[in-house]
């Protein structure tokens, strides 16, 4: 499980976590590479995962196909978290796709930090064709972690003004300056 950062809650909060997760199941959209973990048997017909109905998987030809803006798009349209699953780093079927998306997601997490979106809502997961059990476990861990995150700041209030074009206008584009509202 790379790219999830240090676990925020080792064991102390794990007891209340399932209750919270059950009360508000985080909506999670995952992008799954065709060549990485086989989706046979872990996905229902509508794309949700058998064991985690709150997770929807979208299959893509290669993890490098994903534009980071799609992850942002998912977050803005009501998903609580998104992740990308590719082949193990260094073993991309198309040679470099997962390294590319890894770099792009890393950059995007930095960008999201400036926009007051918790970067922990985005993850990259890398598992090979037959590692379904580990993949499901990793997704469950990610889902639990997203469930424990504090609610996102009221971004929709800013949304009608247009999020990204408005920012350079009202504040300097760099640094932590654009902090109009505190959660």
């Amino acid at each position: 499980m790379p790219e999830l950062g240090s676990p925020p809650t080792p064991q102390s909060q794990s007891a209340p976590a399932p209750a919270g997760a059950a009360a508000r199941r985080p909506k999670i959209v995952g992008f799954l590479c065709d060549w990485a973990v086989s989706a046979d048997g872990i996905v229902r017909e509508d794309g949700t995962m058998r064991e985690l109905p709150n997770v929807t998987l979208i299959k893509v030809p290669c993890s490098g196909f994903i534009r980071p803006s799609w992850l942002e798009f998912a977050l803005k349209n009501g998903a609580d978290g998104t992740f990308v699953c590719g082949c193990p780093l260094g073993d991309c079927f198309n040679r470099l796709g997962n390294n590319l998306i890894q770099d792009r997601v890393t950059q995007m997490r930095r960008r999201l930090e400036r926009q007051k979106v918790q970067p922990d809502r985005i993850a990259t997961i890398y598992y090979g064709l037959h590692e379904q059990a580990q993949f499901v476990a990793a997704v469950r861990e990610f889902s639990d972690r997203v469930a424990q995150l504090p609610a996102p700041p009221p971004a929709p209030a800013k949304k009608p003004a247009g999020v990204s074009p408005a920012r350079p206008a009202d504040a300097a584009p760099s640094g932590p300056a654009p902090a109009p509202e505190e959660p």
Binding site: D46, T48, V60, C62, R67, P88, L100, E131
Partner: protein, 385 residues
């Protein structure tokens, strides 16, 4: 049958990867760098071979003596000779690993037959270079190899004797033999680099070198081996005492072991079949994407109006399927109006992976049957459900 075998081999390959990834971080898994490792060994071979070349004299009287001179008199000569010997073994080992790994993980599919074919050529040449290297030493094993090769070639109907004369410069042991072997040792080694160019020509950012850890490790192993088990010749070859048994290097001389069980003609037929089959592997499974259970995304298309000629897709395309050409006309969007270059997708090289779509910040590329709208519609449906 073949498909099921391949599937189970893939399963075992990946299982091995998972095991190794538990020990090393995935970036350092040596099996992900078999290509780079063979390049490393080839470099070691060329450098140590240059050193040996300065001393070697290709004649029956002097070949053995000069090799002994390198071992006994030249400072560090024994070590360099050992390095040359053992890195050759390492070379063939990692080439075979590279071959099997890319076979089992089906890295020959779609437009990737070119690296495969050139790789097969590299493998055959590497084996050939190894055998000629064993002849150059001109000990009893070398003589035996020449005799066995000559007999095997002569067993081919019609052209056999001619082939043998071509290779050895005439029937029996002629004075041309060792110069010819020296050329056939060094010449194909140069050819390896031409083949490597062919091997890489369709690959963007090939991993040509292993991580430093594995470079040092391989160097260390080779050095250690050459110090612990000095590479030594057998007794000098002489027509008076013909050799009777073959001391085998299992990595290069396996075909000569097979001669014990097969007639020469069968061996040559078998070798031909293996090589031809190896070249045929990428074409053995002419499956369409639908038969593979993959979507038909279509060849990536450049949207002329949006392309700014920024070359990002050109740098990221793993198969060099995108070329930048001088633009015939300016683009439509503001960013694209001042462009000097335009991206073009070469259809025969595109594998529909969509990496260029992820690379493009200007929405100037699309997979025709899997558009950005399609992805966003799926995301929206997932968020609403």
């Amino acid at each position: 049958m073949y498909k099921r075998l391949l599937a189970s081999l893939l399963r075992w390959t990946l299982r091995l990867d998972v095991g190794i990834n538990k020990v090393y971080p995935a970036d350092f898994n040596p099996l992900y760098y078999t290509g780079g490792l063979s390049n490393l060994f080839l470099t070691i071979l060329v450098l140590s071979g240059l050193f040996l070349f300065f001393y070697y004299v290709p004649s029956f009287n002097e070949a053995y003596v000069t090799v002994q001179y390198i071992s006994d008199r030249v400072p560090y000569g024994q070590i360099i000779r050992g390095i040359h010997r053992y890195s050759a073994d390492g070379f063939i080992i990692v080439i075979l690993l590279h071959f099997f790994r890319n076979w089992f993980t089906e890295r020959f599919r779609f437009s990737r037959d070119e690296p495969w074919i050139s790789g097969m050529m590299l493998l055959v040449f590497a084996g050939f270079i190894g055998v000629t290297g064993y002849v150059l030493v001109w000990d009893q094993r070398a003589e035996l190899l020449v005799v066995m090769t000559g007999n095997a070639l002569a067993a081919i109907p019609w052209v056999g004797g001619w082939l043998r004369n071509l290779l050895f410069g005439g029937p029996g042991l002629t004075n041309l033999l060792l110069p010819r072997m020296l050329f056939l040792h060094v010449g194909p080694a140069v050819t390896l680099y031409i083949m490597l160019w062919w091997h890489y020509v369709r690959l963007r950012h090939p991993k040509v070198w292993p991580p430093a850890v594995w470079t040092l490790f391989s160097l260390g192993v080779v050095l250690l081996l050459s110090a612990l088990i000095p590479a030594a010749s057998q007794p000098q070859a002489s027509p008076l005492a013909p050799p009777t048994r073959l001391a085998v290097d299992w990595f290069f001389l396996l075909p000569y072991v097979a001669l014990k069980y097969l007639t020469p003609l069968w061996l040559i037929a078998l070798a031909t079949v293996i090589i031809v089959y190896g070249l045929y592997i990428p074409y053995q499974l002419p499956e369409t994407r639908a038969e593979l259970g993959l979507r038909e995304s279509g060849i990536a298309q450049v949207i002329d109006a949006n392309c700014t000629g920024c070359e990002l897709c050109y740098y990221d395309c793993p198969y060099d399927a995108i070329v930048m050409v001088p633009t015939p006309h300016p683009g439509v969007t503001k960013a694209a109006q001042a462009r000097k270059l335009l991206a073009i997708v070469l259809e025969s090289r595109c594998v529909e992976c969509g990496i260029c779509i992820g690379a493009c910040p200007f929405e100037a590329l699309e997979l025709p049957h899997f558009l950005e709208q399609d992805v966003e519609a799926k995301v929206l449906a997932a968020c609403r459900s």
